[in-house]
Amino acid sequence: MSPTPWPSSEPKWLATDVLVVGGGVAGCLAAIQARDEGAAVLVADKAKFLERAGSVAGGVDQFMTPLNTEAEWDSPEHLMKFVPGLTDGLSDLDVAERAVHELPRVFQRLCDIGIDFTDPTTGEYFRTRAFGLPGEYHLNFDGSRFKYKLGRYTVGHGAKFLPRTMITDLVTDAAGERVVGAVGFNCRTGERYVIRARSVVVCTGDINRISRNISGMPFDSWHFPYNTGDGHAMAFRHGVRLTNMELVEATLTPLGFSVQGTNSYAGQGAYFLNRHGERFMFKYDPKGEKARRTILVNAVIEEVLAGNEPLYIDIRHLPEEQLDDFVRTLGVDRYTLPGYFAQRNLDIRKELLPFGISEMSIRRGGSYFRGSGLVVDTSGQTNLTGLYSAGDCSMVSGGISVAAAMGAIAGRGAVESLGAAEDEDAALDPGSLDTALARMEEPLLSNSGRRWSDFEDDVRALVTDFVGMRRTEKGLRHARERLRALAAEEGELDATGFHELMRTLESKSIRLAAELMTEAALHRTESRSGAAHRRLDHPETDDLHWKRAIVLRQSAQGELALESMTEREPEVAVGGQA
């Protein structure tokens, strides 16, 4: 097939102070904060409208923050005492502390811009205790319009929005030490952009489509399938440090439709049964179905391996009123879930719901205040000058709350660095730009017939079989070899049209993430954080050597360096292992 031509022979040049890549919650808060400081801000996202961009565009129902009321637990200081128990050695506590203190401030900002966090039935805050936190930090609210309002406010506040635009690469100065912009294209029109920016904030979310699931449909995923680690990949190519890439995040889900929230059924009194009708959770934890999520996931894996499938969720014993409530709220987490049960002719009030585990994501391994992605300091900056990051692609993440907090911090930081760059507006390196534009174009020039979807299937098969839930050195080494071989095929990937170009470039980001996951999982010769990293050949947790995050970095010569950092001494140590 003949190559798709670009609509114009030259890319369009744009200039801004701060470029925000990704218009989800973190990206919007970064943009708002940078606008507060008076900077020119441009937000780029694959979505058509900022109001509809990001993983919570469909709605969200919780925001976590201390509110500084009189209750002893209700302060950032109190919450912070419990953070190290969540992060399990895999974060930077100074950055986490910065985020914790920002939570009530960013919450107030969100209230000020018109987001209503009160319970519509009472007009008061409805606060609950969740995720093992030491207080009722989670506000339940009707967030069906949350992202809409946030996006609308961000544009109204003066941020410019570049729609349907995939940013594909960063551009640096000649020394490769400072980010000076980025390149991207519109996935409908094919218009190409070169964006000069004095600082860039990467808010591209988590990494999905990386392993198989029950339906066999890669876009049927618990998390947002259009988040594919593009920000991780473009940063990594420029020597930015990534951390916690080995952490698996998976959840319990109805067999056939990967959705969130199934583990919360347990909190409401559901029974987990195996095919013998046994409430199996008590074999794994005295709390039974109310055990922590990672214990639930591990128990489900054990039951499946023991041949006790199918497994069921049973809510039939719950009181009528609670069942009504349960069914009424099913669609809050995922709008289409009630319709799914209806099309399946399944009445969960009267019938057992078959369940299992979802595909995996790379996203903080299930614990708040840590993250899988770009290492940032207390101002949200990475080790590449002028490059900032926040949200699920960065090292300190945790739902919309921490995304908002770190987004605001990174937006503020991005503006501070403008002052520092005032007198020496770094020159854009033509070599860096040419490389970025060539990389963007490559799949359109290929004529091989090798499609992104098949390539991605190959990556998913390797991750599922050898890198995923139960890891061994042998399996990981095998996967690493095959993933490297797939890297060599990337140049052949053949895209027709700009939508397909987007997917093709995404599939390359996914492959790189899989390789980095494999490298880090191979390096970590222990098991940690429950299902997040389970080595069958190293089943014990080894705090002495491994209570530290693995950091991956590509050298200027293109070689991978493995380093590590501890929570209180984030200075990176080479080698990582004792």
Binding site: S215, Q343, R470
Partner: protein, 99 residues
């Protein structure tokens, strides 16, 4: 692969499941489903009487934003057989020995 064999292959393959059913009677031909779809899955020709086209059915997240946003209630998300009655064993997701 030549263009001819590619076309023959495409003809032989079963049509992909259509996740988004648009009722042509009630659809008002606005652009909203195209605008809200987070996956660039739905394409509607602007300013025309044509129905929205489900351009990339395999890339649907089944989020239902289109169904929710449709001002005419013309959209129904329809789940495929491998989501309604999946046959893959969970064990196949749990890893295997490289040998």
């Amino acid at each position: 692969m030549t263009t001819d064999t590619a076309a023959a292959g495409a003809a032989a393959a079963p049509a992909p499941h259509n996740p988004i059913d648009v009722d042509p009677e009630t659809c008002v031909r606005c652009m909203i489903c195209d605008y809200v779809c987070p996956g660039d899955v739905i394409h509607k020709e602007p300013r025309s009487k044509s129905l929205p086209v489900i351009a990339y059915p395999d890339e649907c997240w089944y989020c239902g934003l289109c169904e929710q946003a449709c001002p005419a209630d013309a959209i129904t998300v329809v789940f495929p057989e491998n989501m309604l009655a999946p046959t893959t064993p969970v064990t196949s997701l749990l890893g295997r020995d490289p040998e």
